[in-house]
Symmetry: C2
Subunit: 230 residues, 2 copies
């Protein structure tokens, strides 16, 4: 049971290295992408839509050239566990979804998918075995046509400098940038100088000890930042 050009085990390792842990949703997502690709022409330019922000986008990013940063993958979060790959200009494509009618035969998958028991009580090994055995059998497929609104190529009208934050922003956004219009997700507490190392002066208010207490109570399979992805 392969996932695109990977063996199941290779793909599971890839999921772990990119996603941080072996999330069942990304593993199932691998079979979903594989199934969609089998129903599409071998060549061609395809974009992707993911109907949830949980797990599935990473399966698409690992197995196709579509990523969030190149914008060939769009997350349109309507809360369904489904992906679509479609011809990027005409919008014709294949949608694959996890079909509730088909998971009855796989109790551990059903229990995970519908959150029927607390995570601690889940049998992760059995779940992974059932996912491997079920493969794409728990999915259904639809032929779809993406609405024109979603395939329209958006041309941006250039950038200008925001008079408040002095950063560049899309000129179409108005006289000040949208962050300064109130959409910024944070408060700026201090401007640092990147020419100086953080421990050389006043530029770093965080100390190791400040973080230590928090870290000590966190027990998890934590990954250090900046490590190689593969």
């Amino acid at each position: 049971m392969n996932v695109c050009s990977y063996t199941f085990e290779e793909y599971v390792n890839l999921v772990k290295s990119f996603h941080g842990y072996v999330a069942p949703g990304v593993v199932i997502g691998g079979f979903m992408v594989d199934l969609a690709l089998k129903h599409l022409p071998k060549d061609g330019l395809f974009d992707a839509i993911c109907e949830t922000s949980a797990c599935l986008p990473d399966a698409i990013q690992l197995l196709t050239p579509c990523s969030i940063g190149n914008r060939w993958l769009k997350v349109i979060d309507v809360g369904r566990f489904a992906i679509t790959l479609y011809e990027k200009y005409r919008g014709e494509g294949i949608r694959v979804f996890l079909d509730p009618a088909k998971i009855e035969a796989w109790p551990e998958i059903k229990s995970w998918f519908f959150k029927l028991k607390p995570r601690k009580e889940q049998n992760s090994q059995l779940l992974l075995e059932q996912i491997k055995e079920a493969g794409a059998d728990i999915c259904s497929i639809q032929q779809v046509k993406v609405k024109p609104h979603f395939i329209k190529i958006q041309h941006r009208g250039g950038f200008t400098i925001c008079p408040l934050c002095k950063e560049a922003y899309p000129v179409d956004d108005g006289r000040i940038c949208r962050a300064c219009q109130g959409e910024a997700p944070y408060m700026v507490s201090q401007i640092l100088d990147n020419r100086r190392a953080p421990n050389e002066g006043e530029s770093d208010n965080h100390t190791e000890s400040e973080y230590k207490e928090e870290r000590d109570v966190i027990s998890n399979n934590q990954i250090r930042r900046g490590e190689k992805v593969q």
Copy 2:
């Protein structure tokens, strides 16, 4: 001039394999992530915010464990070329942005960033050389605190079956799923049977020839779907 644990050239290759091409924004993004990490404690649990959906999310996904699918990376698209890495519970973090005041010394970077000339007239090689030489010198840093609203852990209230599409959806979304409420990005034209190969029957209305004409007029450095990412 390294980018986290990679040499510049290794990182450029990684960008090409994941992002599809050597996008200047993802390359600069590498230096931005590297700079942010240098100002954060070596250990700890950090989440990421990206202020644009263009390019930068992929630098974060390549160099940190944060991805769209594990939701440790959030794209809050306010149109600024900036990233933030922050302690996930307290929200204290480091924001790095490309500083317009600092790119005057790098004409090819400035010209690319502000789209001052058509893409065809860009000197890609010179641009990449300037990016490599400039490194993080074109960035500025801020210490920020993410607003509580954005760091709140959202617990979902379980899933149920939508009476219309028969798929699972978050029960909090209402009596039918949001796709059936009108948010679906496509029309379903046909339901296929995934137990049958697409060329065995009526299940695939697409033919190779239908796609051929389109493909022939597309000249680009196209990547086949399903290829290994690295």
